[in-house]
Symmetry: C2
Subunit: 228 residues, 2 copies
DNA sequence: ACCTGAACACCGTTCAAGT
DNA sequence: ACCTGAACACCGTTCAAGT
């Protein structure tokens, strides 16, 4: 009960904070109970006094990221235009996600909500409700947005992992026979923007394209609902 | 070189086929190299003569599912309406995915394309091109669709895992204070459709809602492009 | 060429024991 | 109450040896 407690006292918060830093540094594969404990200067089993098991640790990690999103989003001011405000919140959430490349995978593997995730989600629902959308439409909207509501889309076949060899002309030749449309499209894209070497395309602009497609569609349904 | 070879001769195909059946039966967590080998009546290390490692096995699994999708999709006849045909292909792909609940997770963790995945994707691109969309727009469309092009969306916080306890009134009460909009929405949904007990909502209709939102939006952009 | 068995270097987690 | 160390039951994978 005094301020002179040992500086390194273990706590759930300190564990989560260290786990986030470790995952940022080494990727989610580098986050093991043993490794996390070592990082904290403690034995692996000590963690189990503050966290039920690894699943619970990951739940905590996801919620820690959601807390960061809440902080970032709090700085935004509301304009009263739900679509504009929603777009801003989601793109801000994305900035947080980009700081934690492992977070999308963890979010997708979660099965329960932490308090910060709940509050972030609640705010999105409130924003759409304030725009006059029905509960039903908002519900559809949340499902349609899916992970985009949290600022990410899990890229299918992310070329980042194997882009180096995949771009080889031999493989493109081999593909050309079986996938003429795909090859033609990729050639066209490469021609248009030869500078996009971090993957085949600009993730950010693709994210915004998909997001705007959905937001525009939702706005249309909302208007249709209002006139009914 | 004779037909009287031992019936149980190991081969890449037989390994993949058994792996799919095993994953269907026990989930992806039940698919281990050791377990798969046992299922084949063979030692674990024998698998490594036909498959480089587990990553390669999973690559093969994803492509096996894509092959099934190709088969299912081949039965569809083209109407010439790209949007209608694309919708049909994707919903057919979804039927295959629903037979393999582990497949979405495997698809999302892949980093390289198998031949069947490539051909399935190529057909989608061809369909949109036939509708007059530019390479650029088709490229955006593929990104916007993302995993939906393969008939699935990875549900965030799938309540299937913990729905039993999560629906408890105490927890809803506790949530009500911090998440009024969310609670109100969920209450409204439950009121509208008290029968939807497999999760909070009907995945199929939510999938189609999101898909149609995107397809409608793409159609609009395609028309805009045509007039430009 | 194909398959085997033992072994290695990891995991998450249980348990009895320490302070 | 909190932390430890050894141990258990798993993984994927390497390696030398069998046929």
């Amino acid at each position: 009960m005094t301020d002179t407690t040992v500086r390194a006292a273990l706590s759930r918060d300190r564990i989560l904070q260290t786990a986030v830093a470790l995952a940022d540094r080494e990727g989610i594969g580098g986050l093991t109970m043993r490794g996390l404990a070592a990082e904290l200067g403690v034995e692996a089993m000590s963690l189990y006094h503050h966290v039920a098991n690894k699943e619970a640790l990951l739940d905590g990690l996801a919620d820690a990221v959601a807390a960061e999103m809440q902080d970032a989003v709090a700085a935004l001011e509301a304009t009263g235009d739900w679509k504009h405000d929603l777009r801003g919140r989601i793109l801000t959430a994305r900035e947080v996600m980009l700081r934690h490349p492992w977070a999308p995978g963890v979010f997708e593997s979660r099965t329960s909500f932490g308090p910060h995730i709940v509050r972030y989600t609640d705010a999105l629902v409130g924003l759409m409700r304030s725009g006059g959308m029905s509960h039903d439409l908002v519900h559809h909207a949340m499902h349609a947005l899916g992970s985009r509501a949290f600022g990410f889309t899990q890229e299918l076949f992310d070329p980042a992992g194997s882009a180096d060899e995949d771009a080889s002309p031999e493989l493109l030749m081999q593909m050309a026979a079986e996938a003429p449309n795909l090859v033609e499209m990729l050639a066209h894209i490469a021609h248009d923007d030869p500078g996009s070497t971090l993957g085949w395309c600009d993730d950010q602009s693709e994210f915004e394209f998909g997001l705007d497609l959905l937001l525009d569609g939702l706005e249309r349904r909302a208007e249709r609902e209002r006139l009914a």
